[in-house]
């Protein structure tokens, strides 16, 4: 499994990587722009990410904008629906309002921070990315 963790806070980023690295190869991005660079590179190399953990609240380009751009670029390459990267949006509990927006942007799931390892792994399993 190829994973991209997008999170502006270093501690949160490392926590997610610690949780996921036993199950796949993890790359990290500190902001939306860096995330799209990684995403495009992987897309061009035909070595796309299976899972993207995407923080919603980031300065500059937020998670919603990043996700819209990811789906747009996938569509350009003829990648639709289930063939696209599975995206789990992460957000603080207080950002519930963002969740509906996230689903409109076609994410597969969301998790509230602080992230619980078991909940994350259950979610990844339910997306069919690991047994």
């Amino acid at each position: 499994m190829r994973v991209l963790v997008v999170e502006d806070d270093m501690v949160s980023r490392r926590v997610l990587v610690k949780f996921l690295e036993p199950y796949g190869e993890c790359d990290c991005a500190e902001d939306g722009y860096q995330a799209l660079e990684h995403f495009q590179k992987a897309l061009d190399a035909k070595d796309k990410y299976h899972l993207i953990c995407l923080d919603i609240m980031m300065p500059g380009m937020d998670g919603h904008e990043v996700l819209k751009e990811i789906r747009r670029r996938e569509a350009e390459k003829g990648i639709h629906g289930l063939d696209g990267a599975k995206v789990i949006m992460t957000t603080a509990l207080s950002d519930r309002g963002n969740i509906m927006e996230a689903f409109r942007s076609q994410c597969e799931a969301y998790l509230f921070k602080p992230i619980d390892r078991q909940k994350l792994l259950d979610q990844v399993r339910s997306l069919g990315l690991m047994k």
Binding site: D9, V15, K18, A92, L93, K113, P114, I115, D116, R117
Partner: protein
């Protein structure tokens, strides 16, 4: 939720002197500062991972707080809000509710251009960070990384 945390943060950090006089805090206060049980549960009980995450936190946080101090000194509200938001995330990763609430207060003060309020909260955050380190030690973690 954030309002609640902010409220708790103010509540717990209010008697600043008593925290300094009495390094070992009451267990109920400790839980609000850092709930070891909840933290470990989130990590599936992996003690080694917990210490690793704390090591990252203990290196990263003073750096971010230094940047925040600079932003406050140069009266830069956008940077104050940005760093308040980042610190909120870092403290949230540990489940450090009090410090998370204070950092959120700084983020809001930055967004509203309330420099004095942000500075006041920054001092509370410094104090909250010291208290958090005490509680981490009491909880059996190393803080010398």
């Amino acid at each position: 939720m954030d309002d609640y945390l902010y409220y708790r943060a103010r509540l717990v950090t209010e008697p600043a002197e008593s925290v300094q006089e009495e390094p070992v805090l009451e267990s109920s206060v400790q839980e609000v500062v850092f709930d070891r049980e909840v933290f470990m549960e989130r990590l599936g009980g992996d003690l080694e991972m917990a210490q690793e995450i704390l090591n990252i936190f203990l290196v990263d946080t003073p750096e971010q707080m230094g940047q925040l101090k600079q932003a406050l000194e140069s009266r830069n509200p956008e940077e104050t809000a940005r760093l308040g938001h980042k610190l909120k995330g870092s403290f949230s990763s540990l489940g450090a509710d009090v410090a998370q609430g204070i950092a959120y207060g700084i983020e809001v003060a930055g967004k509203n251009g309330q420099a004095e309020e942000a500075l006041l909260l920054f001092h509370k955050l410094e104090e909250g960070y010291r208290t958090l380190k005490q509680v981490l030690v009491v909880s059996g973690f190393r803080v010398d990384a």
